[in-house]
């Protein structure tokens, strides 16, 4: 799932649940998730497969 798709769905769900104040926090989380995914390249996959 792309971050854009995820963020749209999360904000809609939060609004439906009466938690509109979550929206700016979810937007900040989306930026953090983008950075996390960008760091994925540093995971040592060879070590994981051992």
């Amino acid at each position: 799932m792309t971050i854009e798709t995820w963020l749209t769905a999360a904000c809609e769900d939060a609004e439906r649940r009466g938690l509109a104040e979550l929206k700016p926090l979810l937007e900040a989380l989306a930026r953090s998730t983008a950075a996390l995914r960008d760091a994925d390249r540093f995971i040592d996959r060879a070590m994981l497969e051992k």
Partner: protein, 438 residues
């Protein structure tokens, strides 16, 4: 009334000889608690039980059955940790748990003869760095009640600063022992992950949670840690150590007086014959992202049931953080766990050839209560992110870390440095801290 700020190690021989009475020590702590209710340091004061325990300790000691340096010494316990017969509120209006057994850490402290004086206030469910979101009132900084005492173990730090106890049990998931210790100018130890059991402790994030001691000196921390571990401590005392300062990321955005304190510490160590070198922790800038994607879903998992039935009872900020965790995808949680392994290795690599890492504990002095952002060397940043920035990596990596006083700002606010030791070598770290404290 002046506080008795003597250390456990100074009092222990006096208690043993009968020169100092555990009952009188306990009464004095209770008087100090009563004298400053506006600080909200305690949630439950165990007055009658504490006095009964003190009388029992006094009788045992008089009968020649001295158990060790904690015997008859009043200590406090963060109200996240179970004590039989006392509600564990976690600082929340959510219905508390009512334990019928002590957490194993409390059992060990009782076996060492400690007098448990009460349960200290905290940031609700340990999910914050300022101790202001608590159903029992914000913990206030004794030096200025408009300022935070740090968190989440804020009540514990205030209790120590004000002489309401001589040692305290805190918990640390992203810095919750080290942050209030830094703000209040005391000493706090987060041991290696898993070294002290968190059984009987309300979890925040089960793979990041640690429990540890807080006190007014490294020597007192060692006494508390030995009792909590249930074992004697041994370390090599040396005259020369090698310290690694991770400059990048950890020393980039600091209050000028915090930077100056780190420099003073570095110069003092060099003058004392130690070696101080610059080191790098690879990928450290990804720490907040990794932390967030672990702590949020783990916390949300624990609170899922209560969020369904009692959501309105949480403080608004804590509730929103818990709700946020429910939206993190499993894929990103697993990604964070793999990056955690990478970061753990990076800390190990930075420690190669060093005895310990040396860095600030906190980029800023005590923040103002109620402020969402803070100025750090000319830049406005969110308070929570700033306060976690220098401590949370070592919850991710599990390395032992401790906060120690390192002077004050020009305005007199405490400044703290952090020492980080090799994984699984908490005793060695204590030895290094004891050497440089001298």
């Amino acid at each position: 009334m002046s506080a008795d700020l003597r250390g456990i190690v100074e009092l222990a021989p006096l208690v043993r000889s009968g020169a100092v009475s555990p009952v009188r020590l306990t009464e004095a702590c209770l008087e100090r608690i009563d004298a400053r209710p506006e600080l909200n340091a305690f949630i439950t004061v165990m007055r009658d039980r504490a006095l009964a325990e003190a009388r029992w300790a006094e009788e045992e000691i008089a009968a020649g059955q001295h158990r060790g340096p904690l015997h008859g010494i009043p200590i406090s316990v963060k109200d996240l940790v179970d004590i039989a017969g006392v509600p564990t509120t976690a600082g929340s209006a959510v219905p508390p748990r009512h334990p019928d057994a002590d957490a194993p850490i409390v059992t060990r402290l009782r076996e060492a003869g400690a007098v448990i004086i009460g349960k200290t206030n905290l940031h609700e469910f340990a999910f914050g760095t300022t101790s202001e979101e608590s159903a029992f009132g914000a913990v206030k900084n004794p030096r200025d009640v408009t300022r935070s005492a740090g968190g989440s173990s804020g009540g514990a730090a205030v209790a120590l600063l004000e002489g309401m106890c001589f040692g305290s049990v805190g918990t640390d998931t992203g810095g919750s022992i080290r942050i209030p210790s830094a703000v209040c100018g005391i000493v706090g130890l987060k041991p290696t992950y898993g070294e002290l059991t968190c059984e009987g402790v309300v979890p925040l994030s089960t793979t990041l949670d640690h429990i540890g001691p807080m006190a007014r000196s490294v020597a007192d921390i060692a006494v508390m840690f030995a009792a909590m571990k249930g074992a004697g401590l041994e370390w090599d005392s040396r005259t020369r150590y090698v310290f690694g300062v991770p400059e990048a990321y950890f020393c980039e955005r600091l209050h000028p007086d915090v930077r100056a304190a780190l420099e003073r510490t570095r110069e003092t160590l060099l003058r004392a014959g130690h070696e101080v070198r610059t080191v790098a922790i690879e990928h450290a800038s990804h720490t907040p992202d990794v932390y967030l994607h672990i702590v949020l879903p783990e916390a949300s998992w624990y609170h899922a049931g209560t969020l369904a039935t009692d959501a309105q009872r949480y403080s608004p900020g804590v509730r929103l953080r818990l709700e946020m965790g429910r939206y993190i995808l499993a894929e990103d949680y697993v990604r964070a766990l793999h990056l955690r392994t990478r970061l753990r290795r990076a800390v190990d690599q930075a420690l190669e050839g060093c005895d310990a890492l040396l860095l600030p504990s906190l980029p800023i002095p005590a923040p103002v209560l109620g402020e969402a952002s803070v100025d750090v060397d000319g830049t406005k940043e969110p308070v929570r992110a700033v306060m976690l920035r220098l401590t949370q990596l070592f919850n991710i990596s599990g390395h032992p870390a401790m906060a120690m006083p390192a002077g004050t700002t020009a305005d007199g606010w405490p400044v703290s440095v952090q020492l980080v030791g090799h994984h699984g070598q908490t005793e060695r770290l204590l030895g290094i801290a004891a050497a440089i404290e001298r």
